[in-house]
Symmetry: C2
Subunit: 336 residues, 2 copies
């Protein structure tokens, strides 16, 4: 089940993640992309939005000539047969080698759509869901064949962010997992797929993020630090550290000659004290949610809404960070 | 109590953090640095080690001519009066405007040394401790004047990493806090000092790191993911995200028009489920520590020991990330 020279990917649901996924797939020479979305005026929306996710476009809504260039780029993708807009799920799925879904985060929706997709798509097609929270094993309960579906969870924005969490259900066929890994690892891909070995709420990336977020909310609630100062702390230390090394590699280095074992020994006392005292706040319910109004108010005050220029700047900066990650420095190999 | 044109900083304890701090202070034109350390052959050690932390040196222990250049750079710092090596704590502190301590992480040591420093240093000198875990209020218990000491907690390596957590005790004078902030915020400084409003174990940066680490250890223990794959996940998503935006700013952006409030509403279900199920492992004691042997073994297998070349590469990459953070993109301001 190896990746062919010309995969044909059907994208179901073209919100922000879906558009970014379209950009990712279309950035590769060997793909055809079929798109289906139920929103009104989908075609107009696609012509207006997709160019923001295509390589080498520098969109600016103020610039009429640029906008015409952008529409042209979508037009040329269509005329060259690389992009097909569909009005029905059936035609969208008919020729797919991969069907990828970015619909609403509702179990009922996903169970319903996968049963339909299974009836429309070729029997060999791979089924990928971009869900951030609903396991493949739950989504596939109404499908006939429970070996085809797996989670391909991207991080926003997927056309720039390298990670894809590949999370099979216990019944997903191993060759389906290998295919997804291979697809995102192809030469020239900036993406880094990682297979998660067990279905678990939030998968791995969001579990790590939410573990840190819970403590962040607690520290703001307790007036230890403001939301903005906490963000500065993260950007000025852990962000760049973890952009360069993972957490285990960082502590392997931080432990010096004894590596992470020495680090755990040296910092164990402080670490246990911190672990014992981590904040236990909630996001749902009435109890332990006093932080919410404070965090929301401080975050709104610090950042407000982002302008188009700010969003563009953030994307460019993220590209720069990812570029640094793959830069060669010329002395990474052990010295002889 | 404003920062003068020529601060004179006494560094007590010149391990890795102390050397890096010396590099930080010497990178500024307006400083004199006095160093004191009790290790045998301290002077030889300083001549050999300090050049690694000075700007524009490219050390290589294999290269004799380079090594001579490095010694020269230390020699010239000494002959120009910018660096003084002391054989006693008393002379080291005698002319200080700032005394900064990077000694062992032992409460008894720190209480003892601060009482001595107080007796030797000018009465106006600022007292900073680089501790990662022992609050200023505990360290100062044997001092006469409890308004002078505060924590200046750096992140490794401080000559590159921008963050300094400034943590006063409840009795530290506000002008002492302002002075430290001003010192690290001076024009041309790449550093970002942040004041923590309450003493709390681990301060803020390590609390956030340890919150994430606990979940990381749990996920490795449960075989959800290997240590190396977890590191890849972090580097391919949260690292570059948090290098560019803090956690609150990221979710303000992720929430779209409704900002972080909309994000918390949309992801609240998954977030609560994750928070309720976060791993509760320990680092001390017998219970809940089964992860340790697995994490240590997987981390050693993945990374082993780092060569000098790899260490240099990591430093250069970290510098690149920090450089990207301060790069101007030309369209960050709101569009009119």
């Amino acid at each position: 089940m190896s990746v062919s020279s010309r995969e044909r990917i059907t994208l179901i649901g073209l919100g922000t993640i879906g558009m970014s996924m379209a950009g990712l797939h279309l950035s590769r020479d060997n793909t055809i992309v079929d798109v289906f979305d139920t929103r009104p005026n989908f075609e107009d929306y696609l012509f207006k939005t997709l160019p923001n996710f295509l390589p080498e476009s520098s969109p600016s809504s103020e610039d009429a000539s640029l906008e015409s260039t952008q529409s042209t780029s979508v037009t040329s993708l269509i005329s060259s047969g690389r992009l097909h807009i569909h009005k029905s799920l059936e035609t969208a799925c008919a020729s797919a080698t991969i069907v990828q879904e970015q619909g609403p985060e509702s179990l009922a929706f996903k169970q319903e759509i996968w049963a339909q997709i299974e009836s429309f798509a070729p029997s060999t097609a791979h089924f990928w869901t971009s869900t951030s929270g609903i396991a493949a094993s739950a989504q596939q309960s109404t499908m006939q064949d429970k070996t085809r579906l797996l989670v391909v969870h991207p991080f926003n924005p997927p056309h720039i962010m390298p990670l894809l969490e590949i999370v099979p259900s216990p019944t997903t066929a191993p060759e389906r997992v290998e295919f997804a890994q291979e697809y995102f690892s192809q030469a020239g891909s900036r993406h880094r797929p990682v297979v998660i070995r067990k279905e678990i709420p939030g998968f791995v990336g969001n579990r790590l993020a939410f573990a840190l977020l819970r403590e962040a909310c607690y520290l703001v609630q307790e007036d230890v630090v403001t939301a903005k100062d906490l963000d500065t702390i993260l950007m000025a230390s852990l962000g760049p550290r973890w952009a360069g090394n993972g957490v285990f590699e960082s502590y392997q280095q931080g432990g010096g000659e004894g590596g992470i074992e020495a680090f755990l020994h040296k910092l164990g006392g402080t670490m246990q004290e911190v672990w014992d005292g981590l904040g236990k706040v909630n996001v749902l319910g009435e109890k332990g949610t006093a932080w919410k109004s404070k965090v929301i108010a401080q975050t709104n005050e610090a950042y407000g809404e982002f302008s188009a220029g700010q969003m563009r700047e953030k994307e460019e900066r993220l590209r720069d960070f990812v570029h640094v990650q793959t830069k060669k420095y010329g002395h990474g190999e052990p010295e002889v």
